[in-house]
């Protein structure tokens, strides 16, 4: 479904590679975790997958469509959940979701039903008409997620979807994401919560200094590295504890 062919990225005014010759194949139905420390290159890959800016070299294909030349086709089949709470705080949850749904091309009953359904799933129905600025962090995260899945995307790109919220809310979000995946949506997910990634992802790639240092199924990777869990393996591979 997704092919990254030797992609590299050097930002303007920088001499260092943010992403250096990365190649990946991600299959349909996968929950793929891009893991790494802050500044490892996860968000750069994420942004290039969304078509926000092109790689300096290499190609990215989603469903055999080139991100470089066919981005408008790709945008119709992807859903994006940014790390920030990308919502309008003075609008209600319903107004926010209605706007983003419409921007994805949903209309009429399809849009209304999708909003009602998602709010129900995430337990936010009774807060639907409240302004986002009155929401707690966890509630905002959930609306942020719903805004990216209203149109039932084939591929969901999540950039740290549960960052900065309590463990309970995080667990709830991950649980719902699992369900979304089971309904046929492939997921690419960046995170630095390794324990969570170990449970959630079907496959992971650990990125360090713009390069993939290991890739595979989490359990297999942990086993082959003779570690007890993903976190231990991560420290062993990157030698970096502080930024995870």
């Amino acid at each position: 479904m997704i092919r990254l062919q030797n992609i590299s990225k050097i930002y303007k005014n920088s001499t260092e590679f943010a992403v250096n010759e990365i190649s990946l194949n991600i299959n349909k139905g996968e929950i793929f975790g891009l893991l790494g420390t802050n500044g490892a290159g996860k968000t750069t890959i994420f942004s290039m997958l969304c078509g926000l800016f092109p790689p300096t070299s290499g190609e990215i294909y989603i469903n055999n469509l080139s991100v470089r030349t066919q981005i408008s086709e790709i945008k119709k089949i992807i859903g994006v959940v940014p790390q920030n709470i990308a919502l309008y705080p003075t609008l209600t949850a319903k107004e926010n979701l209605s706007f983003f749904g419409k921007m994805y091309g949903l209309r009429g009953k399809e849009l209304t039903n999708s909003i009602i359904h998602r709010l129900e799933i995430f337990g936010l129905t009774k807060y639907a008409d409240k302004k986002i600025k009155t929401y707690s962090g966890g509630m905002k995260r959930r609306i942020n997620l719903i805004a990216g899945i209203l149109h039932k995307p084939e591929l969901l790109l999540l950039d740290e979807p549960a960052v900065g919220i309590d463990a309970h809310s995080r667990l709830e979000i991950m649980h719902e994401l699992k369900k979304i995946n089971e309904s046929g949506t492939s997921i690419i997910y960046t995170s630095h919560y390794l324990e969570e990634a170990e449970k959630f992802c079907s496959e992971i790639a650990i990125i360090d200094k713009g390069k993939i240092i290991t890739q595979g199924k989490p359990t297999e990777l942990v086993k082959s590295a003779n570690c007890s869990n993903l976190e231990e393996m991560f420290f062993k591979l990157t030698g970096n504890k502080s930024n995870v």
Binding site: N84, I85, A86, Y88, T90, K102, M103
Partner: protein
């Protein structure tokens, strides 16, 4: 179209829930029009309600000082205080800021004028061999001024004093002339107490077309401050764009199907609506509010369509500028400072505060780069010259082109910025 409509609704909701933003957009400009028009109008009405305090030290008490005093009192601009008796006292009072100005008439001032004029008159009537050499004595009237008063006011004041003294000199000349004639003929001529004023000035506005419009402070200020208010939309508009970038919703929009022009289009529609409402509010203030303060009622002229397209074209130019600033500025601080300062500069250049015709030649040439000047000229054509659509076409074209130009720059700048990442 569907996405544009959705985007317009979102922009509208975001805007109407931003109360401080709405205050900046509507209440402040309306307050500004009322305050500035009131201030300017009272200034133009020769400050009759707030007289300027002046000290008048008369060390002569003769025709010159008395006539001067009479003239100053008659002008009704000045509140004359004659209680201080000497130069030092007067200087202290002005230095303390109690008076804006002090006029000190030296002792023997009128006599000095007489002594200067008398030999001149006598020479006129005497034979060539009896001509006397005239040594004019200088008469110096001292004027002490508060350092804070503006030069223009000072110059006007001195010019008024010169006018009075010149009248009095003429009066003395007449008197001496009459005395000389009486001496020669034995008949006392019927002398006029005061010089006659046979020259008057009649002012008529030179309109190209028949109109009932009377240029006044309302006709000048309402369009000027409407333009200023419209361009101040740059602050909330740029702020809105930066906020969207900062909180990630702009990023989200970029990852969604659709064109960036849809985003810009929705902002243009909503904020153009706002500028139009500002325009309506200003017009209503000119018609209904300013007269409550004793100011003239705004006369809209007879070409409402020309007025409508001027408002729309000016609004478009203001929105285009706001979008450009919002695209280029990285932070709220940059947008706030650059936006407001640039609008103030463009307003100064455009003649909002000071008429372009009174600017130095170089500034007059520069002023044509200001879109506020184009809008203001167009409004003036309608409000002061009863202009038609064809009269304002050059300004309307310039404003619309400015909008297209700024939107294109914003569009390509945004695109280039992302590609250069």
């Amino acid at each position: 179209m569907y996405k544009l409509k959705a985007s317009v609704i979102k922009e509208f909701l975001v805007l109407i829930r931003d109360i401080p933003g709405l205050i900046i957009l509507f209440i402040m400009p309306a307050a500004m029009i009322i305050v500035v028009t009131l201030v300017q109008d009272s200034t133009l009405k020769s400050l009759s309600d707030s007289k300027i305090k002046i000290l008048y030290v008369d060390n002569d008490n003769d025709i010159l000082s008395n006539s001067l005093k009479e003239g100053l009192l008659k002008s009704e601009i000045f509140d004359l205080d004659t209680s201080k008796v000497n130069y030092e006292q007067a200087k202290n009072e002005v230095a303390k800021g109690k008076y804006r100005m002090a006029i000190i008439i030296p002792e023997g001032a009128a006599d000095t004028i007489r002594k200067n004029i008398k030999p001149v008159v006598e020479n006129i009537f005497s034979a060539e061999q009896n001509q006397q050499t005239v040594n004019f004595k200088k008469l110096e009237i001292q004027i002490l001024t508060d350092p804070t008063i503006k030069n223009t006011f000072k110059q006007t004041m001195i010019s008024d004093l010169q006018k009075y003294t010149s009248k009095i000199e003429t009066q003395i000349l007449f008197k001496i002339l009459a005395e000389q004639l009486e001496k020669m003929t034995g008949v006392k001529p019927d002398l006029l107490d005061k010089p006659i004023e046979t020259i008057t000035f009649k002012e008529t506005f030179a309109f190209e077309k028949e109109t009932s419009i009377k240029p006044n402070s309302t006709q000048h200020n309402v369009p000027a401050w409407t333009m200023f208010a419209m361009f101040f939309i740059v602050i909330p508009l740029a702020g809105n764009m930066i906020y969207e970038r900062e909180n990630g919703s702009f990023f989200r929009l970029l990852t969604m199907p659709g064109n960036y022009l849809t985003v810009l289009g929705s902002k243009t529609i909503v904020y153009l609506g706002i500028t139009f409402l500002q325009f309506i509010l200003m017009i209503l203030a000119g018609i209904f509010v300013l007269p409550l303060f004793g100011l003239p009622v705004l006369n809209l002229g007879t070409h409402p369509f020309a007025l409508l397209i001027t408002a729309l074209a000016s609004g478009l130019a203001a929105v285009g500028y706001g979008i450009l600033v919002g695209t280029i500025a990285e932070t709220h601080e940059q947008a706030g400072v650059f936006g407001s300062v640039s609008v103030i500069i463009l307003a100064s250049l455009g003649g909002i505060w000071f008429p372009v015709y009174a600017m130095p030649a170089i500034m007059q040439k520069i002023s044509i780069i200001s879109p506020l000047n184009w809008g203001l000229e167009s409004f003036y054509d309608i409000f002061l010259k009863n202009g038609t659509v064809s009269d304002i076409l050059p300004e309307i074209s310039a404003l619309t082109s400015f909008f297209i130009f700024t939107i294109l720059i914003a569009y390509f700048y945004e695109k280039a910025k992302r590609m250069k990442f």
